[in-house]
């Protein structure tokens, strides 16, 4: 396997002391400090309800922080990652349009970009092929299983080849084999596109396998309680998955998670 493109480490965006309070007085985040660097694969790990999805929405600009600041890097790359169409988002729920077929749903971001059906078809089919749904292009969302819906949503996020990919537990509803395959596919996409990925997951194994950095969140109020760095040049394959380093990293991460939960 070719050595992956090294991230140049310039900051893409930084959250400093960010807080998020909802109108019903729930404080989802408080004093959140985190940085995402260009070309990184960062995983967010943390207990249910600790504010991971909220953090992702803040980064995407879908909601405003109620305190603190969010700064984007100053260089060309950071500017381009903020452009519309440059951000891919996989929501925690599939969020498909019930009135459109699988093909139509995956077509959506391209269509919004002015790319017609005919022209977009190869890219759409490629994305569907990637998630193993090429045979379901004409099905409607209500005719799909839970995991299939989620895969459509993943295909939709990938089809635009985004510069910044925000994924909220994309593989939670998938069986392990499909999940492993998609893990590798995602790494491949990441390498090829040289994009930045912020990835929310509940699987310690998955986070260690995929990321170059893991941020462990603690809950109520949500903030980063630990950070683990994994050598980005480490090849990710079956050898790695069965290596003692991998097991050690997993154990370390699990411990950090357990400590984060105890802190609550």
């Amino acid at each position: 396997m070719a050595p992956r493109a090294v991230s140049d480490g310039a900051p893409l965006l930084r959250l400093s002391g960010v807080g998020k309070r909802f109108s019903n007085a729930v404080t989802a985040l408080e004093g959140l400090d985190m940085e995402v660097r260009q070309g990184e694969f960062v995983s967010l790990l943390g207990p249910s309800g600790c504010g991971k999805s909220t953090a992702l929405r803040l980064i995407a600009g879908l909601t405003e922080p109620s305190g603190g600041r969010l700064d984007w890097g100053a260089d060309e790359m950071a500017r381009r990652a903020r452009e519309p169409h440059a951000i891919g988002f996989v929501f925690q729920e599939p969020t498909l349009m019930p009135w459109a077929s699988v093909f139509g749903n995956v077509h959506l971001p391209l269509k919004l970009d002015g790319i017609g059906r005919r022209e977009a078809e190869p890219a759409i089919l490629e994305a569907l092929e990637l998630v193993g749904l090429a045979g379901f292009r004409d099905a409607y969302p209500r005719e799909l299983s839970g995991g299939m819906k989620m895969r459509v949503s993943i295909a939709r996020a990938l089809v635009t080849k985004p510069r910044l990919l925000l994924m909220d537990e994309p593989f939670a509803a998938l069986d392990e084999i499909t999940r492993f395959k998609l893990n590798n596919d995602l790494l491949e996409v990441w390498r090829r596109l040289r994009c930045t990925i912020v990835f929310v997951t509940h699987s310690v194994f998955e986070s260690v396998y995929l990321s170059s950095r893991i941020l462990v969140f603690r809950a109520r109020p949500g903030r980063v309680s630990a950070e683990l760095v994994i050598d980005p040049d480490q090849p990710r394959d079956e050898t790695f998955r069965t290596s003692p380093e991998y097991a050690g990293l997993c154990r370390e991460t699990s411990l950090a998670l357990a400590r984060a939960m105890d802190a609550t």
Binding site: T95, M97, P98, L112
Partner: protein
């Protein structure tokens, strides 16, 4: 489900039962035709006077359809305007409500000062029919799935794209519901408009036939005209329901009718 013959047979059966009950009521109470004519008398009149009645029906139907088309155009256009910002909705909805509650009967004469008779009738029918389209479409446009809205925002969708590809499809079931209400109202609106502002004499709609028959106490003919109006209403409703089914059957619960 929609192809089952029961879907057509049962309503017809119920109608037949109603007509029978009507016939019996007339027979048993020995009602004179000027109080309630028997169904066969009405049918006879319908056949006898078919030339004049059907011509009138066509006139009314034409007004109805044009009014409905305008109601859809106007209602949807206004709903879109309202959907552009909540503040626009708050500011302009009172005007829509004023239009809705204006009794056309009362303002028709004023309209006649400036408009031709046909236009005045159309405006009357339009006023009566546009509100359900507006109201339901607005409700639908406001019921968008917030996650999908976020997705569109992220994808850099323009206002227009969000409208065409997210808000309008979401609003579709609501809009079609409003359309089914508006269909009937356009018909009443046409009739009321004809009564309030309509031309009389030759080439006039069913409303004039009704007024004329009432004036001459020709109650069987009045009922024949009423029945034509009812039939027109049912036809319009059936057509709109079919449209709704065709558009929604693949994805909206209201037209799926339970899955197996």
């Amino acid at each position: 489900m929609s192809t089952s013959p029961l879907r057509w047979l049962l309503p017809l059966g119920v109608m037949a039962a109603l007509v029978l009950a009507w016939a019996l009521a007339v027979k048993l109470n020995n009602l004179p035709p000027y109080v309630l004519p028997a169904p066969d008398t009405v049918l006879e009149t319908l056949i006898k006077d078919r030339a004049v009645l059907f011509a009138s029906m066509l006139v009314t139907l034409r007004t109805t359809l044009i009014a409905l088309a305008l109601a859809v155009a106007g209602g949807v256009a206004l709903a879109l305007l309202f959907a552009s910002a909540r503040i626009v909705e708050f500011s302009l909805f009172p005007i829509a409500v004023i239009l809705q509650v204006t009794p056309v009967i009362a303002v028709a004469p004023l309209m006649l000062i400036y408009l031709s008779t046909d236009t005045a009738v159309l405006v009357c029918a339009w006023i009566v029919a546009f509100f359900p389209v507006l109201s339901n479409t607005t409700l639908g446009l406001n019921s968008v799935d917030p996650n999908l809205r976020d997705l569109f925002r992220l994808s850099g969708a323009t206002r227009w794209q969000t409208l065409a590809q997210l808000k309008l499809p979401t609003a579709l079931p609501y809009f079609l519901g409003g359309l089914r209400i508006a269909g009937g109202l356009a018909l009443i609106g046409a009739v009321v408009g004809e009564i309030a502002a309509g031309s009389a004499g030759q080439g006039s709609g069913l409303a004039f036939r009704i007024v004329e028959s009432a004036y001459r106490l020709n109650i069987p003919r009045l009922f024949a005209a009423l029945i034509l109006i009812s039939l027109t209403g049912i036809l319009i409703y059936a057509a709109l329901s079919l449209l709704s089914w065709l558009v929604l059957r693949r994805w909206h619960e209201s037209e799926l009718g339970g899955r197996t």
